[in-house]
């Protein structure tokens, strides 16, 4: 009879990324943001995002969303400052 092998629990890195916001910056021109749930405020000088436990705010000029999908977005423009709240 074949023996049933024990299940191996692999670390689910992607899920981790969803619940904890991850920001990848390319100079101050582009930011890839993962793990954010909502946009709270959006204009060309400020984008405020809601993560699971925190709020993240991008300040700058000419800000725009290059791509906006569930839990992932690309912010383009000149990013001057990133602030965390909570």
């Amino acid at each position: 009879m074949k023996e049933k092998l024990p299940k191996i629990q692999l670390p689910r890195e992607n899920n981790l990324a969803i619940y904890t916001p991850r920001i990848i910056l390319q100079r101050n021109r582009q930011a890839i943001v993962e793990g954010c749930e909502r946009i709270l405020i959006y204009d060309e000088n400020m984008i405020r995002l809601q993560a699971k436990k925190q709020e993240i705010c991008f300040y700058g000029s000419g800000l725009s969303l290059q791509s906006f999908q569930a839990k992932s977005m690309i912010i383009a423009g000149t990013i001057d400052k990133i602030e965390y709240f909570g």
Partner: protein, 395 residues
């Protein structure tokens, strides 16, 4: 780049949104699994892009949140398709183009002949045409194996040939017949008669004479044998050599039409162009009539792009106009002309033959004058024929 291509294939719209609850609309849209890209705020207005299939859902969400949304521009294949649907000519043209392209695969586009002389190539092309192999021929109807055998039998200069189909191109591989080298002075051979005749004089330089003077011989008869036997009975094969002079009979007829039509070429001419597609000639002129009868010289330039030959060629027809003049020759004039032709024939074809006498027969039928000369000649009828040596192993 691929993403852009996929978006174009699926179709997308440029939208503009304004009013209240823009952020909420965006959040709800994305939570539905829709994707928005190139979202740029311009004052109170937001411009962005969304897939054409997702736009309806997005507009519904916007309406619920009190956001005004309008489509600015539509991009991609589905919108082109809608536009194309109205323009049936383009659709029909594209369909026809595809159909013709598929259809053209059933016809021979070009023939490539490898390793064959330019002069013989024209003859080979002519023979192939007789067997139905020409540009524009229906490919499923060509049985290459059978045709190559038939052509091989037709042309004596070819020892081997292969017809290889590569798509719509027919590659013709030819191997010319190698003419056997002349018999060496040392190799054993016999002397045979190359014509019927009566031996007048025989001079044997090597071998054993098999005929005597005044003896009648037929073509192929052995005159001098290359197999000799010495006094002690040893058989040797030697190179036979001899001069065998014989009286032979030859016959030659020259016919001349007493009603001749002479062409007088004029200084006038005309050049016309045509396009040949798959063997079908499409003239590039409207007026088909010519003021005079003409002699046509045709130049064909096949269309070749990056070394590939296509079944399209530009045909240049050069017409040289002429007028015909009827000339009636008398019998005496005809005879004189035939006599001149006989002189040329004798000088060129019978220069190594001594003409002893000849008899002439003159006949006239349907306005054609014929003179037949029966010659009594004296010539060397010796022809060397190599001996095939088959050695049997000694036990």
């Amino acid at each position: 780049m691929y993403l852009s291509l996929i978006r174009r294939l699926k179709g997308f719209v440029d939208f503009q949104m304004s009013g209240t609850g823009i952020e909420e609309t965006l959040n709800q849209t994305v939570s539905q699994g829709f994707k928005i890209w190139r979202l740029i705020p311009k004052g109170n207005v937001f411009c962005g892009c969304i897939s054409s299939g997702e736009y309806r859902g997005f507009a519904g969400i916007a309406r619920k949140n009190g956001t005004k949304v309008r489509v600015v521009k539509k991009y991609g294949a589905p919108f082109y398709w809608v536009r194309l649907k109205r323009r049936k000519g383009i659709l029909v043209g594209a369909g026809l183009c595809c159909f013709l392209l598929l259809l053209s695969q059933n016809f021979l586009w070009s023939i490539e002949i490898h390793d064959y002389g330019e002069k013989d190539r024209a003859f080979l092309t002519e023979v192939m045409e007789d067997y139905g192999i020409h540009v524009g021929a229906y490919l499923p109807g060509l049985d290459c194996r059978l045709l190559q055998q038939q052509i091989l039998m037709e042309i004596e200069d070819i020892s081997w040939m292969a017809l290889n189909r590569k798509g719509t191109v027919l590659e013709v591989e030819v191997s010319e017949k190698v003419i056997p080298p002349e018999i060496k002075e040392s190799s054993p051979c016999n002397i045979i008669a190359k014509r019927d005749g009566q031996v007048v004089h025989i001079e044997v330089y090597g071998g054993k004479g098999m005929v005597e003077e005044k003896e009648a011989v037929s073509k192929g008869d052995l005159l001098v044998s290359g197999i000799t036997e010495n006094d002690v009975g040893i058989v040797r094969q030697i190179h036979a050599d001899a001069k065998v002079m014989a009286q032979t009979h030859r016959k030659h007829t020259i016919t001349f039409d007493l009603h001749q039509e002479e062409k007088i070429f004029l200084d006038q001419g005309d050049t016309r162009y045509a396009i040949e597609i798959l063997g079908v000639t499409i003239p590039l002129y409207v007026d088909f009539s010519l003021p005079f009868p003409s002699q046509v010289k045709t130049e064909e330039t096949p269309v070749s792009v990056l070394g590939n030959t296509y079944p399209v060629s530009l045909v240049k027809e050069q017409h040289q106009f002429y007028q015909t003049k009827q000339i009636e020759y008398t019998k005496a004039e005809g005879e004189a002309l035939i006599q001149k032709a006989f002189q040329v024939y004798e000088q060129e074809q019978m220069k190594e033959i001594a003409i002893l006498s000849f008899e002439e027969k003159i006949s006239e039928k349907d306005g054609k004058l014929s003179i037949t000369r029966e010659y009594l000649c004296e010539e060397d009828i010796a022809a060397k024929m190599q001996l095939s040596i088959n050695e049997t192993p000694k036990n």
